[in-house]
């Protein structure tokens, strides 16, 4: 692409790649995967094209959340190394364009979900988008260290939406899947926020390590791992899954607990000494992927 100093930068239309970047595609993988697993473990299998559309709508809804989040947090993003090169803080797109794109994409995803699958799934998708944007981004994130504890609910919706898109109703298993992601979010994000603490502090975001310190955060990570593991194993004793899932969930959760224990024992204050936190963060992503993959395998093997 030719680069040139524009005499009037505002006249330059945003590049289409910046619209893609606005949707945070790298964050979307987990959302799409958990939504797909929710759909695949449902007792009713929709026609392929409708299942595809349901997952597409979940992805578009997540994209809308990313765009609206970036629209609202442009000042915060400009202060953090990790986010300063995004389209809005870098000045490659007008703020209003991001707002229109986000609202349009969100509305489109909900309408398409309702028309292609059912309106309960569409309502849940709309609720998750509104929860992420209004409750998490606008209300909780800049105000309280509990932001990701409550805000984690937004990221927990996809498997529930996937299930409801396939069956038209809510059941115990997808609610447990919701609970797993809800309880997984705090240890996952707090592990990250420990080693990027200075970024959050510079941007004035009251993440737990900024407000309560590293020691409290490490203890909270460990404490949250216990109910998370319990929720992960629960579908087995409740008879909702088989032993393949139950044993795998127990092993995966035990490893999570061991890594969280290493984090709790760590006393490092600089990111260079936070190997345990980085390991836990990387493992937490693998954990959720593996847990949901095993869930699908268990259902299909049964």
């Amino acid at each position: 692409m030719p680069t040139l100093e524009m005499t009037n930068p505002a006249a330059l239309p945003a590049d289409w790649r910046d619209f893609v970047a606005l949707t945070k595609p790298r964050v979307m993988y987990l959302v799409v995967f958990t939504g797909l697993c929710g759909l695949l473990v449902a007792p009713v299998m929709p026609p392929l094209v409708l299942g595809f559309t349901a997952i597409l709508c979940i992805a578009l809804g997540a994209g809308a959340c990313g765009a609206l989040n970036q629209w609202y947090e442009v000042d915060v993003d400009a202060k953090m190394r990790r986010t300063a090169s995004r389209p809005l803080p870098a000045g490659r797109m007008e703020r209003e364009t991001a707002l229109h794109f986000g609202v349009g994409l969100g509305g489109f995803s909900v309408l398409l979900m309702g028309l292609a699958t059912n309106w309960l799934a569409a309502a849940l998708l709309a609720a998750s988008i509104l929860f992420y944007v209004l409750v998490y981004t606008v209300w909780l994130k800049p105000r309280t260290a509990q932001n990701i504890v409550i805000g984690g609910a937004a990221g927990a919706f996809p498997p529930l939406i996937g299930w409801v898109a396939a069956t038209g109703q809510v059941a115990t298993l997808p609610v447990l899947l919701f609970a797993i992601i809800f309880l997984w979010t705090p240890p996952h994000f707090w592990a990250l926020s420990l080693f990027v603490r200075s970024d959050y502090a510079a941007a004035g975001i009251p993440m737990l390590p900024v407000v309560a310190g590293a020691e409290t955060t490490r203890r909270q990570i460990f404490l949250y791992t216990v109910p998370m593991g319990a929720a992960a194993i629960a579908p087995w004793p409740l008879g909702l899954t088989g032993a393949v899932y139950g044993i795998s969930a127990a092993v995966l959760s035990f490893v999570f607990l061991v890594l969280a224990g290493r984090v709790a024992a760590n006393r490092a204050t600089e990111p260079a000494g936070m190997g345990a936190e980085k390991h836990l963060f990387a493992y937490s992503v693998f954990y959720l992927f593996a847990l949901f993959a095993v869930l699908v395998a268990d259902r299909w093997l049964a």
Binding site: P2, L4, M6, T7, N8, A11, L12, P13, A14, D15, W16, V44, P46, P47, V49, L50, T53, L56, L115, A116
Partner: protein
């Protein structure tokens, strides 16, 4: 506005128009198959 700037703007407009056309085409195809699936089954 210089002609070089004008060229960049035209290129971006062309690119965005192409992407929009592709997405609209894909949407039409998707709607077609959704309609077939919805009318062809009792699901």
């Amino acid at each position: 506005m210089t002609s070089a700037e004008d060229e960049i703007i035209r290129k971006r407009q062309r690119d965005r128009a192409r992407i929009t056309a592709l997405l609209l085409g894909a949407f039409v195809v998707l709607l077609f198959f959704i309609t077939i699936a919805k009318t062809g089954t009792n699901w």
